[in-house]
């Protein structure tokens, strides 16, 4: 018995080691490429780390202040992504409660109809979407980025699935004790789905952060742009000219905040309250 557990440990370790190696090598290679000159990039032969570390790629990206006010972009993105993610979490938690805990006619049908509609690819919806934003007067404002995404079904589907996993006995007890839905939602369900809400926050923050197609359409003012759309102005040309160092540098600058958020969030989404605690006994 003891042997068996030890063996599983080694299998787990071996598997993780291989996975980490496969995932981390390209990552290191990407980071190190951002410190290579073009001359070194095109040199024949493979090296994981640069021979000469250069910071010109980063300087090139950061010094281009006339067309690329990067600090402003960063602030715009932080504002947009944070407000968007907070609103998504609130909306999704409340709505998912409605679709799992309340009973009204056609509840599940409604949910699945919405989900079905959302599965249609929206490539050509760009123009009608723009018209709506334009009608609302949101062109060139952060609202164009913050609000439309609240209509999304993905996160709602995720949280709904988690709530379905919470035993009904929990709220039934509370109902007998006289609690109403608002109270059950706030004091019983909400704490239990907190880990997944942190995941939703992370996903919607990074989703909003990385979106580039939509902001390119709704912003003309370079000072109001979020960073991913802004950096695209630079990346386009780096890509076309295969200026690989600069492209990597700009891509890495753009992910620093999302990486930091992830490192912060990951402490929390596994530090959850045990779903079944208090119920099993």
């Amino acid at each position: 018995m003891a042997n068996r557990i030890d063996l599983s440990k080694y299998v787990a370790y071996l598997f993780l080691l291989i996975a980490c190696f496969l995932w981390v090598v390209p990552l290191i290679f990407g980071v190190s490429t951002s410190f290579r000159s073009q001359t070194e990039v095109v040199n024949v032969g493979f090296r994981l780390l640069p021979v000469n570390w250069v910071v010109e790629n980063y300087m090139g990206v950061l010094n281009n202040t006339s067309t690329a006010p990067i600090l402003k972009w960063l602030w715009n993105s932080v504002f947009i992504a944070t407000s968007h993610a907070l609103l998504v979490v609130a909306m999704v938690a409340i709505t998912a409660y409605g679709y799992t805990r309340l009973t009204f006619k056609g509840r599940d049908t409604l949910f699945f109809v919405l989900l079905a509609i959302s599965l249609f690819p929206g490539v050509v919806n760009l123009i009608p979407s723009y018209k709506i934003i334009d009608t609302l007067g949101w062109v060139n404002t952060p609202w164009a980025m913050i609000f439309p995404g609240l209509a999304g079904m993905g996160n709602l589907f995720l949280v709904r699935q988690f709530m379905l996993g919470i035993p009904k006995e929990l709220d039934e007890c509370a109902k007998i004790d006289g609690a109403n839905d608002f109270r059950i939602f706030y004091s019983i369900i909400l704490p239990l789905v907190r880990p997944v809400l942190i995941v939703v926050f992370l996903f919607s923050f990074t989703g909003s952060w990385n979106d580039f197609l939509w902001p390119v359409i709704v912003y003309t003012d370079v000072n109001k742009m979020p960073i991913t759309a802004g950096l695209l102005l630079l990346q386009d040309i780096y890509g076309n000219y295969r200026m690989i160092g600069q492209l990597m540098a700009s891509a890495l600058i753009a992910i620093i905040p999302t990486v930091l958020l992830f490192l912060f969030a990951q402490k929390h989404f596994v530090k959850s309250i045990n779903l079944n605690a208090g119920l099993k006994g």
Binding site: L16, M91, L119, P121, V124, P128, L164, Q235, L263
Partner: protein
């Protein structure tokens, strides 16, 4: 109390419903309407009835028919190749990470998750260099002399590799958050009964996270149907359009250099949507039934 009870659903689902109608349903209706028209995105759409659909589905001489069939075939191939891996690999990593004695869990998780944050163009450059015949590791270290992007099945292999590299992290996080919620008691009870790690995985872990599993299955599949960045960047759809996915054709029709053919593009998008819908519904039905 009674009145409150009647209005409760409105309060809980109402706000989202409004947003959905304005920002999702309204544009989608326009999109579906467009699929029955000839439209260049500028002038008013001209109603042509089901002609776009007839051309795409039945006119075997038409370029659009060929594009649709080829694009759908390649998309289905991509989905079939990548979805199982995008489910199984993160699941195995998540389970391994749950092992009590494994250390540096957060570091490992970060390493797997961070690539998904990097923009597709930068990721494509990294992998493009790694598989580059002259400069790359694949050829220089392992002596494989293959023009990856232009030879099958290698073209698909590099597309799948870059997809996994960026895509495993998201599902991993969902699985970790879910597995962590599973009661320790269940595992301990299973151990008492003499269950080994594999038995525990199948009889405790999987059933306990069945709802998140259904979610990842359906959404990963829908996501993979919408793929276009990876093949566009890695192979440009080649060789011989064997990696050109439907979404690439749709985008080209709507937003390429020439006059836009948005009506046809919309019709293809609607058909793709129907395929996604049927497959998702089937998956959901199958998994939900087995789960309960």
């Amino acid at each position: 109390m009674k009145l409150n009870g009647r209005l409760t659903p409105t309060f809980f689902i109402g706000p989202h419903l409004i947003f959905f109608l304005v920002f999702f349903l309204l544009p989608s209706i326009t999109g579906i309407y467009a699929s029955f028209t000839q439209w260049n995105l500028i002038n008013d759409p001209v109603w042509v009835g089901g002609s776009n659909y007839r051309t795409i589905l039945f006119d075997t001489n038409s370029t659009f028919h060929h594009q649709f069939i080829n694009g759908l075939k390649n998309t289905l191939l991509f989905v079939a190749l990548s979805v199982p891996l995008l489910i199984v690999i993160p699941l195995l990593i998540a389970v391994s990470l749950e092992h009590k004695k494994v250390k540096m869990k957060n570091l490992i998780q970060a390493i797997i998750y961070v690539p998904g944050l990097i923009s597709i163009s930068a990721a494509a450059l990294i992998w493009g260099l790694i598989f580059n015949n002259q400069l790359g590791v694949a050829n220089n270290l392992f002596g494989v002399d293959v023009a990856w992007a232009a030879t099958q099945p290698y073209a698909w292999i590099i597309i799948i590799i870059i997809t996994l590299w960026g895509g495993v992290g998201g599902n991993l996080i969902i699985y970790r958050a879910s597995i962590h919620g599973v009661s320790r008691d269940l595992f301990e009870a299973a151990e008492m009964d003499g269950a080994g790690p594999i038995r525990k995985f199948f009889s405790v872990t999987i059933p306990s996270i069945r709802f998140p599993l259904i979610y990842t299955f359906v959404m990963t599949t829908a996501g993979c149907f919408n793929v276009f960045g990876q093949p566009l960047m890695m192979t440009s759809g080649g060789p011989n359009q064997s990696t050109t996915v439907l979404m690439m054709y749709i985008r080209d029709l709507a937003f390429s250099h020439g006059e836009s053919i948005a009506g046809m593009a919309s019709a293809m998008a609607v058909l793709l949507g129907l395929v996604i819908l049927i497959i998702s519904a089937f998956q959901y039905y199958l998994l939900n039934r087995n789960a309960s």
